[in-house]
């Protein structure tokens, strides 16, 4: 005989009551483990999705421009790295026959290398065929042979942000035939993590290259790095990269004994120009910088030479080209051809008229005045057409009159002698000015140098020098400065799969009441079981077992029960998780937006839940056993339960505390109403204090009512509730707490708001739009509309106000994206928009900016961080930050720190971060034009406006949508979470209520002798049922009433803010269901006990 035998015997003998304990613990472990499994399953599902969609890809290069296709082959080098070039663009696709349209899709130009890269059979795409991803095919209802119109952005080398960049016809449309294809993993290919279905078109690479005039170029490189060679991908690409891939070329000018360093983008950025200078210096070769621009006219005294190229040269350049080195910063040197045409001589004032392209979408003509410093012959070094970069549509024209520039040209101004000049001298500059002056007039944020000239000694062959120089220059250039990044997409995707929303944590919170109810019930049933054996405890003490030893034996029993419950709960956890995931795929799909979530059983969550559940259960058991240390051995031997603690002041303390809590509640209510403290916090605090006050006063009532005379059957039931005040208070607290949370949570469901209110989440803009191609002209000015081909006059556009935003595509930063956004979307807000001060803010970092928090974007932060604004939901729940924190994003030229300076409240902007426009242009210099728009128009004009925009700007890929719909989509996620919480909380409440009935049953069983005695003296069964029902109803009503009333007070401001709306029906239904379940359970208990045989009950021991 030993303690183990004793425990085993006890477990076996009392298995009935122990079964309830085991079930309670199993339920708690199942729910807790299930919640954690949900989190693990969501993460694993997202990881699986990343892996499936990436296929063999580990790294990828995405470049704002295009590079050699051959870079892929050069990078492979036989070290196990595999590379595949493709073209990847955003686009819009329309089924020609039905007109069905899919916007925001990806268009991939692929060939056999793509399929070989992924180890997939080549479907053999025809020259004009396209295969759609399954989701897109379903969306478009595209069938084999259907004609598809695929419109993509045509990225120009010369940026539309410059004068010489094209601003119209920025897209290309391909006419393709839909081709059916078998299910294959590559059809779900995507480089960006996201749980929404992939919407993509796979078209022939060669066709896309031709349509984009990109020859043998690509803009994306897929890489598969072997696991045994980390870092190989980046290294290999860096080594294979050539200057031409970065858009830089070194052109040998043999006749001039020089090299010209140029950019395909017509301008060298400052870092590249600096690197080029240093590369020349490293070879001890002199160099000079050139900035060549087009002047609309060179004028003097009423005479003019139209459309002339003007070269800005530094001092060394001026000397090398013109032989002059004027010190006057306003000097100009003209070719003798130009000087003769103007009839000028040294010292005469010369005016240059020139265009400047303002990025807000307007062309401006400016004039600069110079002083003629001298003239140079149109021969030799000064007759150098290579000083001018290539401007498509201009420099490649045979005649001046053939020019097709992206700005207006008055052909009437061109004279025959001008055509003769063009024929004979082409792009030879007609004037030379100091570089500094040229840069101040013609310089652009994208660059202030159009080329660098490296001078070679006579004996050095230009081609050899070119190779040597190019190698040196390439070695000094950082590709990331060009926006050329080798991104570890697989690693980042897997990291993003950890998600911004921890579903394990959320469902643990949601299931909180189920877990607590189950554990409390388990502890309660354990205690009831021990109470049944109180005489045994007395016996053991009488036999010399110390109270510690008795406790130890009971704890061992409890530990075994907790362990059994945990073990049982583990497989049940998988079931619970499966059910929750099924709900997330169906009725709660609004929270996740995908049906791709599957159960993944992981050991760690189950072990954590099993161990945690067992420990908590054991603690609960240990807590319940404490009471048995109070009883005397004699009374225990007699089967008497230890009395509750009798403290003389026990009755006064709960009363004092309860009244204090009530006073605090009243004080908070008054303070909140007077605006002394934030209303929401005041009322919620008041509600919580009311809840505490209610429970404390109920406790006080229980203690006080214990001595009141019993005057009715119901009174007898009420008295029964006072016999075990701790047990009664526990039941009431559980019901009240659950009710409080469920009712108050329901008040925070989002309701529709007036989107026309400038302080609403839509900022007063009922419509928003996004375009595939950048729109460089303003939509709401006559000149802009004319440029865009929109109608004029008193039409709908005359009544529209538009706010334009720059847009850098990226990861959705809202709760609609389950993945953690590594590269969030970024908007650049114009000054005009910011000055309006629209939208509603939740917080600002700078108290002085509260009048118009948008002004915080104007702040220049001393530490180099860029101020940004985001929605509070995004900041808190997705980025897990707060106002004042920083977010690091990839800028166009490397990582950038964005500091959150303000938070919007429930706005349209939950998918992105917002910076000021000037900061945006500095961060993303390659981005031009505007792609995101907020539109304000009279309600009656909205349909016409939408139709006009989508029709006339359909080629831009413009999509217009209602702001209310966007807000509703965000709200749907939050509302679904609230519904989930209410559903699971209600389940917990129901469990607690059913348990309450079971406890009542136990109470009745304990008092069955009393019941039998009552019947023996004449009480009817129905009267006994009333006694039991009265006790249960008291506890149920006390719990529900306390919880509901406190919650109603707590949420009053939130309800009023929402116009007095509260989802009363679902809450009332839930509470009625709970009350009904409780009444039913107690009625059953009452009926069962009242039917006990009289004599057996009287003799019961």
């Amino acid at each position: 005989m030993n303690a183990g035998v004793f425990v085993r015997r006890s477990l076996s003998h009392y298995w009935r009551s122990h079964a309830a304990v085991v079930l309670g613990v199993a339920t708690a472990v199942a729910v807790l483990g299930g919640a954690l499994l949900v989190g693990a399953s969501v993460r694993e599902s997202l990881r699986s999705l990343v892996g499936r969609r990436l296929g063999a890809v580990t790294h990828a290069v995405s470049f704002p421009s295009f590079f050699r296709e051959g870079l892929a082959a050069d990078a492979e080098r036989g070290e196990g790295l595999r590379a595949c070039p493709l073209v990847s663009l955003r686009g819009v696709v329309t089924t020609e026959a039905s007109g069905r349209r899919g916007a925001g899709i990806f268009v991939y130009g692929v060939d056999s290398r793509f399929f070989a890269f992924h180890g997939q059979p080549d479907p053999g795409l025809g020259a004009r065929e396209a295969i759609l991803s399954p989701a897109l095919a379903d969306e478009l209802l595209a069938a084999q042979g259907d004609t598809l119109l695929v419109r993509v952005e045509r990225t120009e080398d010369v940026s539309p942000a410059t004068l010489f960049g094209r601003k119209d016809d920025l897209g290309r449309t391909l006419r393709l035939k839909a081709r059916e294809a078998p299910t294959a993993a590559w059809r779900e290919f995507s480089l960006r993590p996201g749980q929404q279905e992939v919407r993509a078109v796979f078209a022939p690479l060669a066709l896309l290259q031709k349509a984009l005039d990109r020859g043998d170029q690509a803009n994306t490189l897929l890489l598969a790095e072997p696991a045994s060679a980390p870092g190989l991908a980046e290294r290999a690409v860096q080594e294979a990269l050539r200057l031409e891939d970065l858009g830089v070329r070194v052109r040998p000018l043999a006749e001039r004994r020089a090299l010209s360093v140029e950019s395909t983008r017509a301008l060298l950025t400052d870092p590249v120009a600096e690197a080029a200078r240093r590369a020349a210096a490293a070879l001890s070769r002199p160099s000079f910088e050139v900035l060549t621009y087009l002047a609309n006219g060179i004028r003097h005294a009423g005479r003019e030479v139209p459309y002339s190229l003007v070269a800005g040269l530094d001092e060394a350049g001026l000397r090398a080209v013109t032989g002059l080195a004027p010190a006057d910063p306003e000097a100009i040197v003209l070719s003798d051809w130009t000087a003769r045409d103007l009839g000028v001589r040294a010292g005469d004032p010369i005016e240059l008229d020139y265009y400047v392209w303002r990025e807000e979408g307007a062309l401006e003509t400016k004039t600069a005045t110079f002083r003629l410093a001298g003239t140079v012959p149109l021969s030799g070094s000064s007759a150098d057409p290579d000083l001018t970069p290539s401007y498509p549509g201009i420099t490649d024209s045979l005649h001046l009159s053939d020019w097709d520039p992206p700005f207006p040209v008055d052909l009437a101004r061109i004279r025959p002698r001008d055509e003769d000049y063009w024929r004979d001298h082409r792009t030879t500059p007609k004037a030379f000015v100091p570089l500094a002056r040229a840069q101040s007039l013609f310089g652009h944020r994208l660059g202030r140098v159009s080329s660098l000239r490296v001078l070679l000694p006579a004996e050095e062959p230009a081609s050899e020098a070119s190779t040597r120089y190019a190698s040196g220059l390439r070695g000094s250039l950082d590709p990331t400065a060009f926006g050329f990044f080798v991104e570890p997409v697989r690693a980042r995707g897997l990291e993003a799969a950890t998600g911004s929303t921890d579903f394990g944590e959320y469902f643990t919170y949601f299931s909180f009441f189920i877990v607590v109810s189950a554990l409390l019930l388990a502890a309660m049933f354990f205690r009831l079981g021990i109470e049944q054996r109180v005489a045994e405890i007395g016996l053991l003490q009488a036999l010399g077992f110390s109270s510690r030893r008795v406790l130890s034996l009971s704890l061992r029993e409890g530990a075994v029960l907790a362990a059994l419950g945990s073990l049982l709960g583990v497989p049940l956890a998988a079931g619970y998780a499966a059910l929750v995931l099924l709900a997330l795929r169906t009725v709660w799909r609004g929270a996740v937006g995908t049906d791709a979530l599957r159960l993944h059983v992981a050991g760690a969550p189950l072990v954590a839940a099993a161990v945690g559940g067992a420990l908590v259960a054991l603690l609960a058991v240990a807590f319940t056993l404490r009471a048995f240390r109070r009883g005397s051995v004699r009374s225990l031997l007699g089967g008497e339960l230890p009395p509750p603690r009798q403290r003389a002041a026990a009755g006064k303390l709960p009363l004092a505390l309860g009244l204090s809590a009530l006073a605090v509640a009243v004080g908070l209510l008054a303070a909140g109403a007077a605006g002394r403290v934030p209303r929401a916090g005041a009322f919620f605090g008041a509600g919580a204090c009311l809840l505490a006050a209610g429970l404390l006063l109920f406790w006080r009532w229980l203690r006080g009512h214990a001595r009141r005379p019993v005057e009715s059957l119901a009174g007898l039931g009420l008295r029964s509730a006072t016999q075990r005040p701790g047990r009664s208070l526990l039941c009431v607290s559980l019901v009240a707490g659950a009710t409080f949370i469920i009712v108050s949570v329901g008040a925070f469901r989002h309701r529709d708001e007036n989107v026309r209110d400038p302080r609403s989440g839509a900022g007063g803009y009922p419509l928003f739009a996004e375009s595939l191609l950048p729109v460089v002209y303003p939509l709401d000015t006559p000149a802009g509309r004319e440029a865009l081909g929109l109608p004029e006059g008193d039409g709908v556009f005359a009544r529209v106000s538009v706010a334009r935003f720059r847009l850098r595509p990226g990861d959705d930063a809202s709760c609609l994206n389950l993945y953690r956004p590594g590269q969030p979307r970024i908007l650049g807000a114009t000054v005009a928009f910011r000055e309006q001060g629209r939208f509603r803010f939740a917080a600002t970092a700078d108290a002085t900016a509260t009048a118009n928090p948008w002004t915080a974007l104007d702040t220049k932060l001393a530490d180099g961080a860029v101020p940004a604004i985001a929605d509070l939901n995004t900041i808190t729940y997705v980025l897990h930050k707060k106002v004042g924190d920083e977010v690091v994003v990839e800028g166009g030229r490397g990582p950038v720190r964005l500091r959150l300076v303000a938070a919007l409240s429930g706005s349209l902007f939950q998918s992105e971060l917002i910076v000021g426009e000037s900061d945006f242009l500095a961060l993303f210099p390659d981005d031009a034009g505007y792609r995101f728009f907020l539109l304000e128009a009279p309600k009656d004009a909205e349909p016409a406006l939408v139709a006009e925009l989508e029709t006339r700007l359909g080629d831009q890929g413009l999509d217009v949508a209602a702001s209310a719909d966007r807000l509703a989509a965000f709200a749907a996620v939050e509302n679904t979470y609230l519904e989930t919480f209410q559903a699971l909380g209600g389940l917990g409440l129901l469990l607690g209520t059913v348990g309450l009935g079971a406890v009542l049953l136990r109470n009745a069983l304990e008092r069955r002798r009393e019941m039998a005695l009552a019947r023996a003296v004449g009480f009817r069964r129905s009267q006994l049922r009333i006694v039991i029902l009265a006790e249960n109803l008291l506890l149920l009503v006390a719990g529900l009433g306390t919880g509901a009333l406190s919650a109603a007070v707590a949420v009053l401001p939130a309800v009023l803010e929402r116009g007095g709306h509260m989802p009363v029906l679902p809450i009332a239904t839930l509470l009625l269901a709970v009350a009904g379940a409780g009444i039913l359970a107690s009625a059953l208990a009452a009926t069962w006990v009242s039917r006990f045989p009289l004599l057996r009950s009287l003799r019961a021991d």
């Binding site: 005989m1 009392y14 031997l637």
Partner: protein
């Protein structure tokens, strides 16, 4: 030797203290057997619990072989009850989940069990005539058999003092006769001081010494 000196015991109620024992004194040697009789509610069981270290007296002292149990800390007091005192209750108080042998061995869980104790337990079970029921549960025994098991349990650790509270109170006359006889025989053979509280004049008649508890004091029977 058991020495009780001027024992007083009162129970405190909201309406004031209720005196139960009012100056009880006695002195018993090993192998002595005392029957305490008296009307219901006079405090006989209270006297037993006080003597056995289960309830502290309001005043007065108890000493068993020179040890006052109420001067001991709780763990030592429990050990005192375990080693030196055996109890037989009116209600036998057998644990339903244990067999006869296990019930008898229950006190050894505290003292430490070894093979010798099992042998002693079996010997006692044999002495009370229940060898053939050794593996049976209490639910399978008659009232008298249960009480015999309780007796064996009380003696398994060879206590110095054996206290019995109405040991035959719930038994039929024949069982009562059997149990009563066994009680005295075993106590005598073990050299134990025996104190029996009983209403049964037959059982009391068997005891060499008899006292009556009346008005809180022991008087000659």
């Amino acid at each position: 030797m058991l020495i009780a000196t001027d024992l007083h015991k009162s129970y405190v109620t909201p309406r004031g203290a209720i005196p139960i024992l009012a100056g009880v004194s006695l002195r018993l040697q090993p192998k002595d057997a005392l029957a305490v009789m008296g009307p219901s509610g006079t405090g006989k069981s209270t006297l037993l619990y006080v003597l056995g270290g289960l309830e502290a007296p309001t005043s007065g002292t108890v000493s068993l072989s020179g040890v006052d149990p109420y001067s001991l800390p709780e763990p030592a007091l429990a050990a005192f009850r375990n080693r030196r005192v055996g109890f037989v209750f009116q209600d036998h108080c057998l644990l339903p989940q244990l067999s006869v042998l296990e019930n008898v061995l229950l006190p050894t869980l505290v003292a430490g069990s070894d093979g010798a104790m099992t042998g002693r337990a079996k010997e006692l079970i044999a002495q009370v005539g229940l060898t053939d029921r050794i593996d049976h549960r209490p639910a399978e025994l008659s009232g008298g058999e249960k009480q015999r098991v309780a007796l064996a349990r009380a003696l398994v650790l060879s206590p110095e003092l054996l206290l019995c509270d109405e040991p035959t109170g719930n038994l039929d006359p024949r069982s009562a006769e059997t149990v009563g006889g066994m009680l005295l025989d075993l106590a005598r053979s073990q050299g134990t001081i025996l104190v029996v509280v009983t209403h049964s004049s037959d059982l009391a008649a068997r005891m060499p010494e008899r006292r009556r508890l009346l008005d809180g004091a022991l008087t000659a029977a």
